[in-house]
């Protein structure tokens, strides 16, 4: 027998074919379309368009879903469809199937114009109205701004002026923005003010693709669905936490974006602080967007910076060297980078969280380019046992127990603990136990962008940071960035290694060492 809980009435409750017990039925977005600004960008072609195809391929897009491209190119609808077709063929995760393409094909439209072109936005309005008629999108549209933030005010102003931002009764309009969400607190506040002047907070979706990753969501599942971790998840047992995001590549062709931004603004402000918040937060009262956000905000508001920023932060620039068997240029030799640039490509910071749970437990966050290998992980390092009944020689090779969330690549969880080395003597050594999400599992689990775009279309916001979180993150980072700006050149580190000496010294001062991830 099925026992049904009493729930508030929703549209789906009137639908006799829906039942909360029927968990095979996927969440399919209602009729809608998306308008993509910046169709020629890397992100659009490599992530957004393939994700749309993959969603359709898995049967999660509504019939009639339409995609409008907006750019300055002189394209017809067919040219735009061809661009999407090529990007899907090259980058989509699922295999290319004609019938899936047929479902999407009639819904591609292209509008030519730049961001201040009134006539073009008028044309966009007509195009959307036309789609509502011939494709049945019913006035529901998401505007995906895959463009540099300096154009946001123009585009958002135009959307407002042409009545595109206001939904008719019973429909919705949403806006999707990508990082960077500003470059400091002030610019972030300005950006938020610009967006919120036109779109209400619940209609703004900030994409932090890390939060769409299965492994990141699994941090919450691990912590709050189990009993064996939470009792030791506090200052009594945890010595410190290391959060690492290392890239083996340099800045590549992103000189224009990267120089002046740097590692801290590019990655620590958003991804690493979000990972820290998920690792450190208290249990939310439920898993809805509001409760999750509350807990994350509590963590971010209780972060304190160490008093001496010179001793508890480190930054560096990569220099020429050999990485992974290839000779690579240093940051200052990269194309279009001024030789006097003080932009850091490696940043490490020590943060403390002033709560009863975490008092005295440092969180070390580091990110760098051209490091030893590409890896992202959260390592919770535990204290050593208070008393060892073994001799010093027996435990010489025993270090700290650790629990590591491997976010990418090779997603999974590693625990490290001491074990006896087989033999007649008592000798204890560290061993690792790995949980892997299976070899090919990652191929069939949805890509972060798929999950996030579907959530935008469904209007489901738990995985999107809101403006308070963004502003709190900048409040943490601003003093560090200001301090660095006032202190000249960053240190240097050789490409292919694990960052500057200063980062090693920073942990050595606390009697700790970085993990080699």
């Amino acid at each position: 027998m099925t026992v049904r809980a009493v729930r508030p009435a929703r549209a789906s409750d009137r639908n006799p074919l829906r039942d909360p017990q029927d968990r095979r039925l996927p969440r399919i977005a209602g009729p809608c379309g998306m308008v993509l600004f910046g169709v020629t960008g890397d992100l659009s072609r490599k992530k957004v368009m393939p994700a749309i195809y993959d969603l359709a391929s898995r049967g999660l897009l509504p019939p009639g879903f339409s995609l409008v491209g907006y750019a300055r190119r002189d394209w017809a609808n067919e040219d735009f469809a061809q661009v999407v077709h090529d990007s899907v063929k090259e980058h989509a995760r699922t295999e290319f199937r004609e019938e899936v393409w047929d479902q999407l094909a009639e819904g591609f439209r292209f509008v030519q114009g730049d961001f201040s072109d009134d006539a073009a936005f008028d044309h966009l309005r007509q195009t959307i109205a036309d789609l509502d008629r011939v494709r049945g999108t019913r006035g529901n549209h998401a505007f995906y701004l895959s463009i540099p933030p300096r154009f946001f005010p123009d585009v958002i102003g135009q959307l407002k002026e042409h009545g595109l931002a206001e939904p008719a009764d019973g429909s919705w309009r949403r806006v999707v923005v990508e990082k960077p969400f500003g470059s400091d607190l002030k610019s972030a506040q300005q950006l938020n003010a610009t967006i919120h002047e036109v779109f209400p907070p619940e209609s703004v979706f900030r994409i932090d693709h890390y939060l769409g990753k299965e492994t990141v969501q699994n941090i919450l599942a691990m912590r709050f669905a189990n009993t064996m971790f939470e009792p030791i998840w506090n200052a009594n047992y945890v010595d410190h936490v290391q959060i690492t995001m290392a890239e083996d590549i340099g800045i590549g062709g992103r000189a224009g974006y990267y120089d002046g931004i740097g590692a801290a603004r590019d990655v620590i402000q958003n991804h690493l602080l979000q990972l820290m918040a998920l690792t450190a937060m208290e249990e939310p009262i439920s898993f809805d967007a509001h409760s999750l956000r509350l807990e994350k905000q509590k963590v971010l508001s209780s972060v304190v910076l160490p008093r001496r920023l010179d001793l508890s932060t480190a930054r560096g620039q990569y220099t020429e060297g050999w990485a992974g068997g290839q000779k690579v240029p240093g940051y200052l030799q990269e194309q279009d980078i001024p030789s006097t640039s003080t932009t850091e490509t490696f940043a490490a910071v020590k943060l403390e969280i002033d709560t009863r749970r975490w008092a005295g437990v440092p969180f070390y966050l580091r990110h760098g380019k051209r490091l030893g290998r590409r890896v992202t992980e959260v390592a919770v390092v535990f204290k050593r046992a208070p008393h060892l009944p073994f001799s010093d020689t027996a435990t010489e090779e025993l270090t700290h127990n650790a629990l590591v969330f491997r976010v990418q690549p090779d997603e999974g969880i590693t625990t490290r603990f001491g074990s006896k080395v087989p033999g007649s003597a008592m000798e204890i050594r560290d061993v690792n136990m790995d949980f892997a999400y299976g070899g090919s599992f990652t191929e069939s689990s949805p890509e972060a962008y798929e999950r996030l775009i579907l959530d935008v279309l469904l209007g489901d916001p738990p995985l999107f940071p809101q403006h308070e979180e963004v502003e709190l993150s900048w409040k943490i980072l601003d003093p560090i960035i200001d301090y660095w700006a006032a202190h000249g050149q960053p240190d240097t580190y050789e490409s292919g290694g694990w960052g500057p000496e200063s980062a090693v010294r920073m942990l050595a001062r606390d009697g700790r060492t970085w993990r080699r991830p």
Binding site: S12, P16, L17, D19, I28, G30, F435
Partner: protein, 313 residues
């Protein structure tokens, strides 16, 4: 893969451990045991499908082939791990008297404290939950459409003998249809007063779909025949007009609803490994299937008995 002739469960278990050691990876990370009960002819294909599915769900796969019941009792096995798939695999062939006690071979090989799924890719027992191998499983997967004969009747048998944990791949095949029908009704609130399902004359999936619609919509559902392939159309009649999904070619469907333009939607018939993957994703009893099976069993005992008998011939 290592061949073990005239062997036993403990020798097979020992070979699993040796194979893991040899590959240098002592970590297991398997989440379930999948028992595949197959005939000699379709065993290889079924093992290949199970292996594909184990990429998403790392499992110990135990293929059990029940051979000739006559002659001396013998257990042979082919055991291996890795080579492009996660998990462990053993194909166990039984002949002689032991074919009557296959559970005695499988039981010692089940992974500790984790779910057991039993899958019959072809011929399945009439009552899987009381089958000796079926009893070992928390989930039992049959496939009426793959029954060697009398497919419609096979479906009815499965519905009559439903026990929590049973499902049939005929049900899995209609998930796409059900999702599309449900989302069509999200947009068209209004009571459905009649419905129809058109499909090949013999189609366990279409029978289930009709039973599901009847159970959920509480209305008359007509089952019509067409040339196929599979299900070709479903119509739900409301006061504003018909909501129709038609799929003449087994891959691209058209959704028509009152006051809305017709829209194409991909609705491809899926391969066996995709179906098995979907089944393995949920290891708890499927309550909606239970309700549908109950309805089908009830109506099957009444009217369409004639038709199922005709299909049996």
């Amino acid at each position: 893969m290592i061949d073990l002739t005239d062997t036993s469960s403990s020798a097979i278990a020992a070979e699993f451990v040796r194979a893991r050691r040899r590959s240098g990876s002592p970590a297991m990370g398997m989440i379930m045991t999948l028992v595949v009960v197959a005939d000699t002819d379709d065993a290889d294909e079924a093992m290949a499908v199970a292996r594909t599915a184990s990429q998403e769900h790392p499992a110990r796969i135990l293929g059990v082939v029940l051979g000739d019941r006559r002659g001396g009792s013998q257990v042979d096995a082919t055991v291996g791990i890795g080579s492009g798939a996660s998990g462990e695999r053993a194909l166990i062939r039984l002949t002689g008297e032991v074919t009557k006690h296959p559970e005695s071979v499988v039981l010692p090989l089940l992974l500790p404290d984790s779910p057991v799924v039993v899958w019959w890719p072809g011929h399945a027992p009439r009552d899987p939950a009381s089958d000796p191998l079926g009893r070992l499983g928390t989930r039992r997967i049959t496939d009426a459409a793959a029954a060697p004969a009398a497919k419609a009747k096979a479906m009815l048998h499965q519905c009559v003998s439903y026990a929590p944990g049973n499902t049939d791949l005929a049900w899995t095949r209609i998930t796409g249809w059900r999702a599309l029908l449900a989302s069509a009704l999200d947009q068209n609130p209004g009571k459905v007063h009649a419905a129809s399902v058109t499909a090949e004359r013999v189609s366990p999936s279409a029978d289930l779909l009709a039973a599901w619609l009847g159970d959920r919509l509480r209305c008359e559902v007509t089952r019509r025949s067409s040339e196929g392939p599979g299900i070709t159309s479903v119509v739900m009649s409301t006061k504003d007009g018909d909501v129709t999904i038609s799929r003449p070619d087994g891959r691209l469907a058209t959704l028509s609803s009152p006051g809305q333009p017709d829209r194409p939607v991909a609705l491809k018939r899926r391969d066996l490994d995709e179906l098995l993957n979907e089944e393995l994703r949920r290891l708890d009893p499927d309550d909606i299937y239970a309700a549908t099976a109950k309805r089908m069993a009830r109506s099957g005992r009444r009217a369409p008995a004639k038709r199922t008998r005709a299909a049996a011939k």
